[in-house]
Symmetry: C2
Subunit: 86 residues, 2 copies
């Protein structure tokens, strides 16, 4: 069965505060990077899976993202299905 | 001064174990996603900054990534400089 590689990006909704990102932004400014305006920290989840075709892989990954990887109250997610590996 | 938007992807080196990713992988299988082979969790850090041009922005971001965002012993990073915003 073909193998697929995908990245699911999970990030906080714009209305949700990101204290960790703000702390990193403050640290960057203290280190002399005064040009940095904002930093927000999200997740990039790398997934390898088997599926008969790309459409099935995408369907599996969408279900997984909505069900397990992202908290829909606070986060949004997007899916990049990279390539079919032999 | 022009504004830039960039994403720094920080991930564990392949030789470093990712227990959180393995736990999510096991949870995915329990939820019926048996086709998932591996999951590794990295960070996607969204940065907005001011810089006179794209080359300066890239230089700032590379310095910040190497200095603050990634731990070079355990992690690798890559930079995507998206666009200049007006």
């Amino acid at each position: 069965m073909p193998h697929f590689h995908a990245t699911v990006r999970v990030g906080l909704r714009p209305s949700v505060l990101d204290p960790a990102g703000e702390a990193v932004c403050a640290a960057a400014r203290r280190l002399g990077h005064g040009a940095i305006q904002s930093i927000r920290i999200g997740k990039a989840i790398e997934i390898r899976l088997e599926a008969p075709d790309a459409a099935t892989a995408r369907q599996q990954l969408e279900s997984l993202s909505a069900q397990l990887l992202a908290n829909p109250v606070m986060e949004t997610w997007s899916l990049e299905l990279h390539s079919q590996e032999v």
